[in-house]
């Protein structure tokens, strides 16, 4: 059952991601990205990481992609086709991404043997409580410092984005 679900989700994921990069209309691509993120969230749930799945939906879909959509609508006239890649560019892109993918595939096959790893039964590991405790943990394996840094970073980029996007006088 799990496997079946996994393969189905994986297929959907690949398909929707593919649509993101090849749809000529950006708006469609962005919408497809939403789909892709939803499928990712489902995959996380399948891997028993509910919190991450929730965060994925809230941050990515609710925040980022919507934001992107707004920008697309702001900046681009709908159905703009003139920015389609040329055939040469496609070939090059295909070749390079294929080569890179092939390289990683080779590495994956080469180094990760199936028998080395097994599915963990620990249900609690990725749970909300664990994550929360760990994030605010002040001991050496806690994540309090990165957590604070990220909050500062978020603040800075907020201010920075406002400054950059502000209309020049």
């Amino acid at each position: 059952m799990h496997d079946f679900l996994f393969y189905g989700l994986a297929g959907l994921l690949v398909l929707s991601s593919l649509l993101v990069v090849i749809l000529p209309n950006l708006l469609h691509g962005a919408i497809s990205l939403i789909g892709s993120f939803f499928v990712t969230a489902a995959l996380y749930i399948l891997l028993q990481m509910e919190f991450v799945a929730l965060a994925q939906i809230m941050v990515y879909i609710g925040g980022i992609v919507v934001f992107i959509l707004i920008i697309i609508l702001l900046t681009t006239r709908l159905g703009e086709e003139s920015l389609a890649p040329g055939p040469g560019q496609k070939v090059w892109g295909l070749a390079i991404s294929g080569a890179l993918g092939g390289l990683i595939f080779y590495l994956v096959i080469d180094s990760i043997q199936p028998e080395n790893v097994a599915m963990q039964a620990d249900e609690e590991a990725g749970g909300l409580e664990q994550i929360g405790l760990r994030l605010l943990d002040t001991t050496s394996d806690g994540f309090i410092v990165p957590f604070e840094i990220v909050s500062v970073l978020l603040f800075i980029s907020l201010v920075g984005a406002v400054v950059i996007a502000r209309k020049d006088k």
């Binding site: 799990h2 496997d3 994986a10 994921l13 690949v14 991601s17 993101v20 990069v21 691509g29 990205l33 892709s36 990712t40 996380y44 399948l46 891997l47 028993q48 990481m49 919190f51 991450v52 965060a55 994925q56 941050v59 990515y60 980022i64 992609v65 934001f67 992107i68 920008i71 697309i72 702001l74 681009t76 920015l83 890649p85 560019q89 892109g93 390079i96 991404s97 993918g101 990683i104 994956v108 199936p114 790893v117 097994a118 599915m119 963990q120 620990d122 590991a125 990725g126 664990q130 994550i131 760990r134 994030l135 394996d141 990220v150 970073l153 978020l154 980029s157 920075g160 950059i164 996007a165």
Partner: protein, 101 residues
């Protein structure tokens, strides 16, 4: 559903993302492709957290950080895009070559 399967899935996603980055001519299109790549990385984190004995919680925390950083990135990138669009009325990366040597 094994680690290897997950990794192969993400490498497909990564390759798709790279392909998008290389072929998209619209700046936002490139951003979208980057999101796919980041997403692939996140899935990898989760997969490793789930399938190895190390520290699954840490594996779960990392995507959260990635999301935060990518949100920052998006905010700044989109601000730049808006400002650029305002100045040049164009977001074709081929036209954006002020850095050429």
């Amino acid at each position: 559903m094994t680690l290897q399967n997950c990794l192969i899935l993400t490498l497909f996603l990564f390759a798709i993302g790279v392909y998008g980055v290389l072929t998209r001519r619209h700046l936002i299109g490139i951003l979208l492709s980057i999101e796919i790549i980041l997403n692939a990385a996140n899935i990898n984190f989760i997969a490793f957290a789930r399938f190895t004995t190390a520290d699954p919680t840490a594996g779960a925390i990392f995507p959260v950080f990635v999301m935060a950083v990518s949100a920052c990135e998006m905010a700044v990138a989109l601000a730049i895009i808006i400002s650029m669009y305002r100045h040049r009325k164009n977001l074709d990366v081929r036209e954006l070559e002020a850095l050429h040597g």
